[in-house]
Symmetry: C2
Subunit: 305 residues, 2 copies
């Protein structure tokens, strides 16, 4: 298991480097843009473990990579490899948490990109490996266009479908697609956050090599498919109205992440790294849309009378 | 009790009218502003009661008043008078909820104003009366300046203090001030949302007239003190940097309301009026601040080596 942990953690770091390099390359390609090209900045953080019965507080840590660019208005890529003991309450909620006396190890990569051009969708990708007395993988990727385009939507779902089908003995594409649609849903709006993609959790088929190969392929599929969507749309002209739609859509993104996202809520409630967790917040968002049916007060009173 | 309910509901409506008139007056006073003066629009909504054992779905309703102005960038004033039956799970959490078999009545006013000029603080005010097998008042008001000014902070706290002291046999000012500071706190940021004010709940001294008189005075204190702060600051010049601070502060406001505010969470999770509840969202907010200690990746790698 130690070797498996090491290979997973190494892969998440390698994937981070591939993604950051590709995103910086895209920034450089926007040659007619007078704004400076974006470059990632980085920061390390340590996790304090508060529930280790020996009093050891070393809980691992992570690295935040963040870029404010001219194509990527704001993109954060977090990797982390943490370990220690879950709190007594939390270990009950996690598979194998009680059997391991709360001891856990977790490593993963998490990415959110908010794009400058409203024609380029926002994207989220995350993969992780968790170990308690059990072990499993989880993750997925989903796309949030403000101005959905059939070509991009189809390409995104096709790439995810092909990835899942390459690992047909590990996952079922339709399951992961449905799970994604159910998860990224705002019940108070009756809306999905975006157009979905894939979502999986507690993946353990009994063959770690196969599960890991699938998890790696999720990352490779991301880096193969998302940049194509960016390059197809990043030069497209947009209006003020398009930009206003982007900012309203980002308001929904904020609502989902703060009201519903398990990772965000769990992280913030249990003393996680606030900066890393809230890197998913958009650079700018609006709540400007009037509810339907609002009318000048005089008209309202006349209608009521 | 029926008469008391009617008097409370009538007061909340009267207070709404006083507030809307005063805010529109302020909009008109910004005479050198080339933007059009704001005027409130209004909309009524009905609540569907889903837990009435007789199947009656009439659950009361409310009115949303909303203004996008040149002084008040976005201000929402909600009044509502609702009744019906709490869900079996919820009635356990509410005083007197089980004894009334879930039956309740509630009336209140709730207001959030986000101001155009970063020198004018955002404000929140809410008062309500609730009836189950018990009955009580709750509410309060708090101020959120992006650029705090001692004169305003002092005036705000003085007004709240004087109000509480006029009702010394009903409330204790320091209690309400401390409660407010505890409630409007973002643990994941280690920050208060603003500079506080007053917060009270489950107020029932046994003398309904006195409790109601205090609740009315909270509203009158609001309309006496907040407009003065607006008029003192609304003409002050501000820089782009000031405006950027306002937008970051509003990001914190969003975090508090979606992560922590009981009313928002409860309302959204139980099928409340989404439009009314989320009227508290600022017109525009940003998450642009870099975490401290971020550095160019090359410097990061050199430092790590």
């Amino acid at each position: 298991m130690e070797q498996k942990k090491q290979r997973a953690a190494q892969w998440f770091e390698e994937l981070r480097d591939i993604i950051c390099a590709e995103f910086e390359k895209i920034e450089s390609e926007d040659v007619n843009n007078t704004a400076p090209k974006g470059r990632f900045e980085r920061k390390a953080w340590q996790r304090t473990d508060e529930h280790n019965p020996t009093g050891d507080t070393n809980g691992g840590g992570g690295e935040i990579s963040l870029m404010y660019g001219r194509v990527f208005e704001k993109v954060g890529v977090n990797i982390s490899t943490v370990h220690g003991y879950f709190s007594p309450e939390f270990r009950k909620q996690i598979p194998g948490g009680e059997e391991s006396d709360g001891q856990f190890w977790a490593s993963g990569i998490s990415l959110v990109a908010h794009m400058k051009n409203p024609h380029v969708p926002a994207v989220h990708m995350n993969t992780r490996m968790i170990v308690t007395s059990q072990h499993w993988f989880g993750g997925g990727m989903d796309l949030t266009p403000a101005l959905p385009k059939t070509e991009d939507t189809n390409a995104w779902h096709e790439a995810n479908k092909a990835c899942c089908e390459r690992h047909g003995d590990v996952v079922d594409y339709q399951d992961l697609k449905d799970w994604c649609a159910r998860y990224f849903f705002l019940p108070h709006r009756g809306e999905e956050r975006g157009i979905g993609g894939t979502f999986y959790d507690q993946l353990n088929t009994g063959d770690w090599e196969k599960d890991f190969a699938f998890t790696q392929d999720v990352g490779r599929t991301f880096i193969d498919s998302f940049p194509k969507i960016v390059r197809r749309n990043m030069f497209e002209a947009y209006t003020e109205e398009d930009h206003a739609k982007l900012l309203e859509k980002r308001g929904r993104y904020v609502e989902f992440n703060l009201l519903h996202d398990r990772g965000t809520k769990f992280g913030l409630m249990t003393g996680g790294n606030t900066e890393g967790i809230l890197m998913s917040m958009p650079p700018e968002a609006t709540w400007l849309k009037k509810p339907e049916g609002m009318m000048p007060v005089n008209d309202f009173l006349k209608k009521a009378a």
